[in-house]
């Protein structure tokens, strides 16, 4: 145990020192990796139990747009705006989740209902173009270096914010993983009827994990907005970002704590490497390769990179079956 703690501490120390000797460009990439890792981890909290949501774009969009709109129009500090956005997202998850679980909307149907939800949010943002700027995007008013506005031109500030966010996400993952609810959720993902027959409150367990996942995704979206200072309905909500979240989590491995982080690392460095490698002459080359990798990954290693590595290391460890439905 001590050796493991030492490795963890050393890793943390390296992460803490990184901004002092990393070039700005790499710091920028690292911040992106951390923020996306957090969002992918949030998605996997549901995904690992077989609740495949294609609607996380909706939660991210609400989380990103609410604080930005409040800041620009009513001068509300993001310190109040972000919690409000997160709460709205959680409410949205509740409003969609409750009837979904009540009427047993599962599998394909759950995926498609949540897909519709992300389209509703994206198209609403586009339709309210007088307020949100529509497809042209939205820029929060710049305030220079300000804690009140949660805006920092220096990248190192955001690096630490993103680092704390990511560690927090992992902590929540660990909390769910260790809690009694995890056993219940495992049972539900195997067989919902049987789980409810042995006295598990299926509705409560499912709703809880859904609301946590949605709230954290919204928080990730809010920090994304604060960092990039530019929001676009296509990049923070809708079908494409929803699919992007799902795929990165699957590629990395959604059944392990660090899987989604590996997913973010792989997808972002792949994207960035291909972008730098091919330049702007081959727009789409990066995603073409990405698409092929995704298909291969789902066919040949449904447990993702981390999951596959683990099964290779421990051939006799009991592997969790891929969820049915």
């Amino acid at each position: 145990m001590n050796a493991r703690h030492a490795t963890l501490l050393a890793g943390l120390a390296i992460l803490l020192c990184l901004p002092y000797f990393t070039p700005t460009y790499f710091l920028h990439l690292l911040i992106q990796v951390l923020i996306w890792s957090f969002i992918f981890t949030a998605w996997s909290m549901m995904g690992r139990f077989g609740f495949v949501s294609l609607g996380h774009g909706a939660f991210m969009g609400v989380g990103a747009y609410v604080p930005a709109l409040l800041w620009n129009y009513y001068d509300v500090t993001p310190w109040a705006g972000i919690p409000l956005g997160v709460m709205l997202s959680a409410l949205l998850a509740l409003v969609i989740g409750y009837p979904c679980f009540r009427f047993r909307v599962v599998g394909h149907y759950f995926a498609l209902v949540t897909l519709a939800l992300s389209q509703v949010v994206m198209l609403s943002i586009v339709a309210a173009r007088d307020i949100t700027g529509g497809s042209l995007g939205f820029t929060p008013r710049a305030a220079g270096h300000s804690w009140y506005a949660l805006q920092f031109p220096e990248k190192s500030y955001f690096y630490f914010i993103a680092l704390v966010l990511w560690l927090g996400g992992l902590a929540v993952w660990g909390w769910i993983d260790r809690g009694i609810g995890r056993e219940a959720l495992d049972a539900i993902s195997e067989d919902e009827e049987a789980a409810s027959a042995i006295g598990i409150d299926v509705m409560r367990e499912k709703l809880r994990v859904t609301v946590i996942s949605a709230a954290l995704t919204a928080l990730g979206g809010a920090i994304y907005g604060q960092y990039f200072m530019y929001l676009n309905p296509e990049t923070v909500s809708g079908i494409s970002v929803s699919l992007q979240i799902v795929f990165a989590a699957i590629v990395g491995g959604m059944y392990d704590m660090l899987g989604p982080t590996v997913g973010a690392l792989v997808t972002i460095s792949l994207n960035e490497g291909l972008r730098v490698g091919f330049g702007t002459h081959f727009i789409g080359a990066a995603n073409t390769i990405y698409g092929i990798l995704l298909i291969l990954c789902i066919i040949f290693m449904p447990r993702g990179i981390v999951g596959t590595l683990q099964t290779m290391n421990m051939p006799r460890s009991p592997t969790k079956p891929v969820p049915t439905e």
Binding site: G50, V52, I96, P99, C100, R102, F103, R104, V105, G107, H108, Y109, A111, L112, V113, L115, A116, L117, Q119, V120, L123, S124, V126, A127, I239, S240, L243, V246, F247, I250, F282, I283, G284, A285, A286, N287, T288, Y290, G291, I292, L293, L294, I295, C297, I298, I299, P302, V322, P323, T324, E325
Partner: protein
């Protein structure tokens, strides 16, 4: 009745025809193979590019270009089944859905790589029909009629031929059909080919009305899933009716306010209906 509203209603009916055709193809694949092709609309996009290049690029006659495009998209459908679906046929259904989601990324970005993000159109302007004070686009009327003919042809194919009967049987009970001496693999490939051909036919009809670009699938793709699910995944007649309901909503709400709001309403209605009738609105 407002004359422009009447025009919007007619427009909605005409749009519904093409959507119904697409919903039929997706429904056929779902009902028989039990897979949701998230990339279905992007396969249509490939067909639209095929027609565009053969007609406007190489100067082929339009009908020949359409025929080749339909055959090409049908072949693409078979390829998708053999390369992507067949290897994971026994794994969780959601994995199959996600694998075709990977295909969506691939097709969209591959099209961007090959053709760029320019909007392209055939440059054919079909005349507008004037009926009293109502204007109807010939392209849409043509698309509607051909979509109907396609749907009826599919109906007779499924009812009257051996393969059609086998396809319907497999949708009802996939275990028993194997015992009756039907080769599942061949039926799946035939179904994928027909699903592809319907997408190909739809792409020929759509390319007459809309500009083609790599992301055109995103505009009507989610809509087709909604229609299929509303009608009951696998229920073809239900899907056919649902296509017209959805297209009417989009057309009429779009007339009173704007297109995005019409889509928002259509999707919101879909979510609500899923709670009331989770297995489709026409399921008894």
């Amino acid at each position: 009745m407002d004359i422009y509203l009447l025009e919007a209603v007619i427009d909605g009916i005409l749009l519904g025809g093409v959507l119904a055709l697409l919903a039929l193809g997706l429904n056929l694949i779902f009902g028989v193979i039990d897979v949701v092709w998230i990339a279905y609309a992007d396969i249509v996009m490939c067909g639209m590019y095929a027609v565009y290049w053969l007609y406007a690029g190489f100067g082929w006659p339009l009908l020949l270009a359409c025929a080749v495009a339909i055959a090409g998209v049908a072949a693409l459908g078979v390829l998708v089944h053999i390369l992507i679906i067949a290897p994971i046929l026994s794994s969780a259904p959601i994995n199959q859905l996600l694998a075709t989601g990977g295909l969506l990324f691939f097709l969209q970005s591959f099209a961007t790589l090959l053709f760029g993000t320019d909007f392209r159109n055939l440059g054919i302007r079909l005349p507008i029909i004037e009926l009293g004070e109502i204007y109807i686009s010939t392209a849409r009327l043509l698309a509607f009629s051909i979509a109907l003919i396609g749907a009826i042809a599919l109906y007779f194919f499924l009812k009257r031929t051996f393969i059609g009967t086998a396809i319907r049987a497999i949708a009802q009970d996939r275990d028993i059909v194997g015992l009756m001496g039907v080769d599942q693999r061949r039926i799946y490939i035939a179904t994928s080919a027909i699903g592809g051909a319907l997408a190909g036919l739809a792409s020929c009809l759509l390319v007459l009305q809309y500009d083609v670009h790599p992301f055109i699938g995103n505009t009507f793709g989610p809509l087709i899933f909604m229609i299929c699910v509303l009608g009951g995944l696998g229920d073809m007649i239900g899907g056919f009716v649902a296509a017209f309901i959805i297209s009417q909503i989009i057309s009429i709400v779009g007339y009173y306010s704007n297109t995005e709001l019409a889509y928002v309403l259509a999707f919101a209605l879909f979510i609500a209906l899923m709670f009331v009738r989770p297995r489709g609105i026409f399921v008894r």
